[in-house]
Symmetry: C2
């Protein structure tokens, strides 16, 4: 019942690229690297083979923070440290402290097969960025949102750009095809993105970021 594992060219390249990375790459990071050697390879092949190779014990699939799975060529026992900002993952070695073990009366009936230790914080690169951005709001711009503009948002922002002074949402509603309620809804979203500021209650104006976003 032992499986035969065919070592295809694709698998060789995936393995060797993973071996060259010391960064615990995600499947699509590895795909980008492998594509340089095998331009016609499919993303599905990379996913499939990472799964197969890790089941065969040739590589290790990591369970680390963040939404993407990561893979490691280094099979030795070691732990990781995770950057909460850029999601980078590095190795750490806990030397003496080695393996934690769980006292039997604390295992809650589980058959324990291992333990995972993960430190987290800011990596050196992100520490620097954090210090620079420390004044005022953070505006780190993660996630998928951040810069995009929907059609309605663009319409409101363009109307705001034409106003010389700060104006209320009724003025905007008049200048666009939108109703006042819809305008206020869009303005809320635009403020969140930093494209609109409110110098006084119920008065809005476009920010320099907002102008930049329009072009």
């Amino acid at each position: 019942m032992d499986k035969q594992l065919r070592m295809t060219h694709q698998r060789e390249v995936i393995l060797s690229e993973l071996g060259k990375c010391h960064t615990h790459p995600t499947a699509d990071e590895l795909y980008e690297r492998v594509k340089k050697k095998l331009p016609r390879i499919s993303l599905a092949t990379v996913y499939r083979n990472l799964e197969i190779l890790s089941e065969a014990g040739l590589i290790r699939k990591l369970e680390v923070s963040g939404r993407q799975k990561r893979f490691d060529w280094d099979l030795r026992q070691h732990d990781h440290i995770y950057c909460v900002r850029c999601h980078r993952v590095d190795n750490i070695d806990l030397e003496g402290k080695k393996q934690l073990s769980l006292p039997a009366h604390e295992s809650r009936g589980y058959k324990v097969s291992g333990c995972r230790i993960e430190f987290f914080g800011l990596c050196p690169g992100c520490r620097k960025i954090q210090q620079k951005t420390r004044k005022g709001e953070e505006k780190m711009g993660c996630k998928t949102c951040g810069t995009g503009l929907s059609d309605k948002q663009r319409e409101v922002l363009e109307a705001l750009a034409k106003c010389k002074d700060a104006c209320g949402s009724k003025d905007i509603a008049a200048a666009t095809s939108l109703e006042p309620k819809q305008v206020s809804c869009q303005i809320t979203a635009l403020k969140k993105k930093g494209y609109v500021a409110s110098p006084a209650r119920c008065k809005y104006e476009i920010t320099s970021e907002g102008k930049a976003a329009l072009s």
Copy 2:
């Protein structure tokens, strides 16, 4: 700049249901429970509020193994144990061993903000199941595949069901609208799901699981 958090009825229910759960539920598990109290609540509201409540520090968002995020009402420092089979998460308390700290020369330049310790293994329930299923293959049936049948798979399986004895893929191809190559492809998938067995090389027959899957 401090946020005001409006305690709506939806939020109250989400909080109280999370408090009643001692199972570190995922967003959709919690959604199912909350829906019994508030049938008209939206899944998005649950997601949004779990995010907001955890940012406000009223609950904790956990980073544990598995693909779904989990939430915890218990804010005290504690660690977790994870079942690799059913993905259940329980609490553990490491007593004296408490907080691991990372020696400065090992932190690789990171500004460390915390540490996560997670044991994993089989929970009591899954240990029993594992023992029963130990003979032969495992057939644990995780993932999304497992039981579903595509149109072509169903066609092949139905043809196999009509055969009294084991037959080759050519016989199946003749009995269906499919070509021999396609049949062999489908049979491979069906074997993986446990719906087809191969009593002899190149001979296939439907299993009892296969018959059950057809009905």
